[in-house]
Every structure is written in structure tokens, then in C-alpha cells.
């Protein structure tokens, strides 16, 4: 931009830059700093002690279990949906894509509510579950279901446009040369979409581990049993155990920063192999 005619005066440029950075500092940097300062308000020892209590450790374990179930299921769904949508022609595709993205426009609380209406005591399947001594709501299965719902579109929405862009020629070539369908998928399709898949998994995992609203509705908040890390943060906070709450929160903030760093690295080095989907 060397042309003076389409450049703002230096004073305007500086003012706008400072305003934008001040806005970002206020809404991004300060909250992040507040988490760290509060977590270490009473020093390293108090921080480590807060993280090593039994209930905190069990909330970390539950968060990892929930992510370990919901993320692979959404990967399987994302791969299968993108294969069906990108490699074949059929009617109703755009409707199908809209339905896949539907969970993004539903409030997290409503995402939890729908499972309570299905599986809760007063729910449609509630009596049947009681008869068979099965628990979904206020138990781990409900937490997993709610987590799958809110993270549902992440992998699929990265893979569908990417596979559509890459077309079908490479797969058709492999198949005509005698490779089996599965072999073609493993050796041709998967390597082609690996960075896009990784990108989707990254975002899916961050949301799965950090989800609060949907999980809050179905969890029942039973200490040591159905509390994930974000729910544990809330309980500690409401008990005025601020060091504990912010210590657990600092782990989640670290997860967010690692996710952002990995996401940014992917965008820098593999931009050509990702489809720009906005975020």
C-alpha cells in the first residue's frame, strides 16, 4: 500500500490500532491474566495442592473419558458423512449439510434439555430405563451424549468442503487399478485430508473437554462421579474456593492456548490443505 491517496494519515492509523488493541486487551488478555493471577494467588504449593485433591483428579479423569468416547465417534461420523456427501451425487445434499450444522445454533442448555426430555425420569424413555435399571441422565452416558451433540458438526464441517474440493479422480484411479474400497480410503483419501481432519479434531476436542452448559443440565453434579472439569470449576467457585476454581480453570485455559497454537501452526504450514471455513 504505497499509494498515498488510499492511505489514512498516520494519526488515524495509530489511533485505530491502539483502539483495536485496547479492545482486545480488555476482552482477551485481561481475562486470561486474571485466571493465572488468581490461580497462583496463594503460591505454587496452594496451586498444586488444589489440583491434587481426589475430586479434582476424578473430574480430570471424567473429562478425559468423555472426550475419549465422543471425539472418536464424531470422527467416524465426520469421515462417513464427508465420504457420502463428497464422493456421490444425490438430492437433498444441502438440506443434509444444514442438518449436520444444526447443533451449532442450539443453546447448550437446550442441547442438554432434549436428552432430559428423552431419558429423564419423566421423559419418553424414562420408565423403560428405570425398569431395566439403566441410568443415562445424572450419569456418564448422558454427559457423553450431550457432549457428542454440541461437538457434532466440528469434524464433518472441515472434511465436507475439503473432500468436495479434492474431487473423485484420485479415488477412481486407485479403484480402477484394482485397489479395494477400504485400501483406497486408507492410502488415497485419508492422506489427502489428514490436516483438515486434524484441524477438525482439534476444535472438536477443545469443545468436548470444555463444554459446560449442556453437560451441566444432564450431569446432576455428583462429586467424584459425574463432575467434569468445567463443572468442578463451578462448584469450587460457588464454595468460595477461588484458588481451587482458578487452578482447575488454568488447566482448561492451557488446553485452550495449546489448541490455538496448534490451530495457528496448521494454518501457517498447511493452509493449502485446509479449506478456509471462517474459524
Amino acid at each position: 500500500m504505497n499509494n498515498q491517496a488510499i492511505r489514512e494519515p498516520a494519526l488515524v492509523r495509530w489511533t485505530l490500532t491502539i483502539l483495536a488493541l485496547a479492545f482486545l486487551a480488555l476482552f482477551l488478555a485481561l481475562p486470561l491474566m486474571a485466571v493465572l493471577v488468581e490461580a497462583f494467588a496463594k503460591g505454587w504449593n496452594a496451586y498444586l495442592r488444589a489440583l491434587s485433591t481426589d475430586v479434582t483428579l476424578s473430574s480430570i479423569r471424567l473429562t478425559l473419558i468423555v472426550a475419549a468416547i465422543s471425539v472418536p465417534l464424531n470422527i467416524a461420523f465426520g469421515l462417513s458423512a464427508s465420504w457420502a456427501i463428497a464422493k456421490f451425487d444425490f438430492g437433498g445434499k444441502s438440506l443434509l449439510i444444514s442438518l449436520i450444522e444444526l447443533p451449532f445454533s442450539v443453546s447448550p442448555v437446550i442441547s442438554g434439555l432434549i436428552y432430559v426430555l428423552l431419558f429423564g425420569l419423566q421423559g419418553l424413555l424414562g420408565p423403560w430405563l428405570v425398569e431395566n435399571d439403566l441410568r443415562v441422565i445424572f450419569a456418564v452416558p448422558g454427559i457423553v451424549l450431550a457432549t457428542i451433540f454440541v461437538t457434532f458438526p466440528f469434524v464433518a464441517r472441515e472434511l465436507i468442503p475439503l473432500m468436495e474440493e479434492q474431487g473423485r479422480e484420485e479415488e477412481e484411479a486407485a479403484l480402477t487399478l484394482g485397489a479395494s474400497g477400504l485400501r483406497t480410503f486408507w492410502l488415497v483419501t485419508l492422506p489427502n485430508v489428514r490436516w483438515g481432519l486434524f484441524y477438525g479434531v482439534l476444535l472438536c476436542n477443545a469443545r468436548a473437554m470444555g463444554e459446560f452448559g449442556a453437560v451441566s443440565v444432564v450431569s446432576g453434579h455428583i462429586r467424584g462421579l459425574t463432575n467434569t472439569m468445567p463443572l468442578h470449576v463451578e462448584i469450587l467457585y460457588n464454595e468460595y474456593d477461588f484458588v481451587g476454581a482458578f487452578a482447575v480453570a488454568s488447566l482448561l485455559a492451557l488446553l485452550a492456548l495449546v489448541t490455538l497454537a496448534a490451530k495457528t501452526a496448521l494454518e501457517w504450514w498447511h493452509r493449502d490443505e485446509l479449506v478456509a471455513t471462517g474459524h
Binding site: 482486545l24 486470561l32 486474571a34 462417513s80 456421490f88 437446550i110 426430555l117 428423552l118 476444535l203 474459524h279
Partner: protein, 287 residues
């Protein structure tokens, strides 16, 4: 759910290819989509449809519910407007003005997407509480943020921040500088060029970002409830009221609030989509 029973989704026979796996992948996709998303949402609609006229009257006449809905939608609207202005400013500075550390700042814009909402909630509360870093500065000025509707808006600004920046940024990058040079050579000053040339070009993306931020903020729960203080009728948001109703085993009330929220949200998103379509048609595809 066999795909063959749905004529809508039947594979186009003309363009058959050697690629296998259409049946299993589409079958699994539809099965999983129905199981996780469609059937549970249908259960909500079924429950809402079973609500009697009298019950609807009681729910929609309840001032506590009305004020919660008003706060969720009004607060989200205010937050989305703030994000439209500042998001455009941030996108503009990131695209047009090189400064050291720009790439890191650009990456940090996505923080609200990555940071769990409960973490954001307690962090904002720590900042804006009367004895917090920012609360301490604001209290002498007579401004209370935490535990008021203003706090709700602050949390909603945080959560919607990336949407406008991320939708406007790529469009701003693609603007043809020759258009701006032409405007300048025809005598327009920078401000005129901005309002007459640049703003119309980015307006559709700005509107998309605004509506995404709005939709996100309407349903937001985790980042809001800590800073809101949740006083019924004053700073209580609709999603929290759904949870309160559930805890009182008032499934009808919870479902009705959810149904109203979903209906208004979808109507808003549909309206924005139609507006964009109408605009594109009017501009003859140049928008």
C-alpha cells in the same frame, strides 16, 4: 433407516461411479444424525406441542420468564452491535495496518472459541466484581458491571467477539485496491471512500458476523451466569431459567421457554439469510 426408503436421498443413477460405500456411509450418517440430533430435537417439539393453551398463557404471561427472554435477546442484540463495530475495527487494523506481533494478536482473536465458557465466566467476574481489577476502577465512577444486566452484555461481547472479525477479515483482504484508488482519483476523501466503497463491499459479511454473534449470545450460558448474579427479573437469562424450571421438575415450563428461544433464533437466522439472498438478487449477483 435405509437410504432406499428416502427418494429425496436416493443416489443419482446416471452419474454412477466406481467408488464404493455409498450405502454404508450415508446409512451411518443418517442413523447417527437421527439418533443424536433429530430424534432428541423432535422429542422437544413433541413435548412443546403437547402444551395446552392454558399452560402457554401462564408461561407467556409470567413476568419472570418474559424478562429473562428479553434480557437474553436484548442483551445479545446489544453485544452483537458492539461486536459489529469493534469487530470491524479489529479486522480493519489486522488487515491494513502492519504492527509487530500482528500474527499472534490475529491468532488470539479465536480465544473465545477455545476457552471453556465456565473459565471465561469466572475470569470476567474476577475482573468486574466490585473489588476486581476493573471493578475497582469503575465503582468510583458509579458504574456497576458485575451482577447487573451490563455484566451479561460484557460476557456476551466476549463470547461473540471472533465471529465478526473472522467473517469480515477475508472479505477485507480481497477488496480490490484499484476501486479505492479510483474513488480517490475522482475526488473522494478516505471517509467517503470508506462509507461509499468499502462498507458496501463488506456489509454482507458484517451482517453474517453480526447474526452469528447474536445467535451464539442468545443461547450462551457458561460465561454469563457467573457475572450476571442471576437476580430473577433483573439479571436472569433464559437458559438459566430453563435449568431452574428443570430443577423444580417443571418440564412443561422448561420446554416452553426452550421452544420459544429456538423459534425466535431460527426465525432470526432465516430472516438474515433471506435478506442476504434478496440483496444478492438486487445487486445482480455482484454482492
Amino acid at each position: 433407516m435405509a437410504s432406499a426408503t428416502l427418494p429425496l436421498l436416493r443416489r443419482n443413477r446416471v452419474a454412477s461411479s466406481v467408488i464404493p460405500g455409498f450405502g454404508p456411509t450415508l446409512g451411518f450418517t443418517l442413523f447417527y444424525l437421527s439418533l443424536i440430533v433429530l430424534l432428541p430435537l423432535a422429542a422437544l417439539l413433541l413435548k412443546a406441542a403437547g402444551t395446552t393453551f392454558e399452560q402457554w398463557g401462564r408461561i407467556l404471561g409470567d413476568p419472570r420468564i418474559l424478562s429473562a427472554l428479553w434480557l437474553s435477546f436484548g442483551g445479545a442484540f446489544a453485544a452483537a452491535l458492539i461486536n459489529a463495530v469493534f469487530g470491524l475495527l479489529v479486522a480493519w487494523v489486522l488487515v491494513r495496518y502492519p504492527f509487530p506481533g500482528r500474527r499472534i494478536v490475529d491468532a488470539m482473536v479465536d480465544l473465545p472459541f477455545a476457552l471453556p465458557t465456565a473459565v471465561a465466566g469466572i475470569a470476567l467476574t474476577a475482573l468486574y466484581a466490585p473489588n476486581g481489577w476493573l471493578g475497582k476502577l469503575l465503582t468510583p465512577l458509579g458504574i456497576t458491571v458485575a451482577f447487573t444486566p451490563l455484566g451479561v452484555v460484557v460476557a456476551m461481547v466476549f463470547i461473540g467477539l471472533p465471529f465478526v472479525v473472522r467473517t469480515v477479515e477475508p472479505v477485507l483482504q480481497d477488496i480490490d485496491l484499484e476501486l479505492e484508488e479510483a474513488a480517490a482519483s475522482l475526488g473522494a476523501d478516505r471517509l467517503q471512500t470508506f462509507f461509499r466503497v468499502i462498507l458496501p463491499a463488506i456489509a454482507p459479511s458484517l451482517l453474517t458476523g453480526f447474526s452469528l454473534a447474536l445467535a451464539r449470545a442468545v443461547g450462551e450460558y457458561g460465561s454469563v451466569i457467573f457475572i450476571a448474579g442471576n437476580l430473577p427479573g433483573i439479571s436472569e437469562i433464559a437458559p438459566l431459567l430453563i435449568i431452574t424450571k428443570l430443577e423444580q421438575y417443571d418440564y412443561v415450563g422448561a420446554t416452553a421457554i426452550a421452544a420459544v428461544m429456538l423459534t425466535i433464533s431460527f426465525a432470526l437466522l432465516l430472516a438474515v439469510n433471506l435478506l442476504q439472498k434478496w440483496r444478492r438478487a438486487r445487486m445482480g449477483g455482484r454482492g
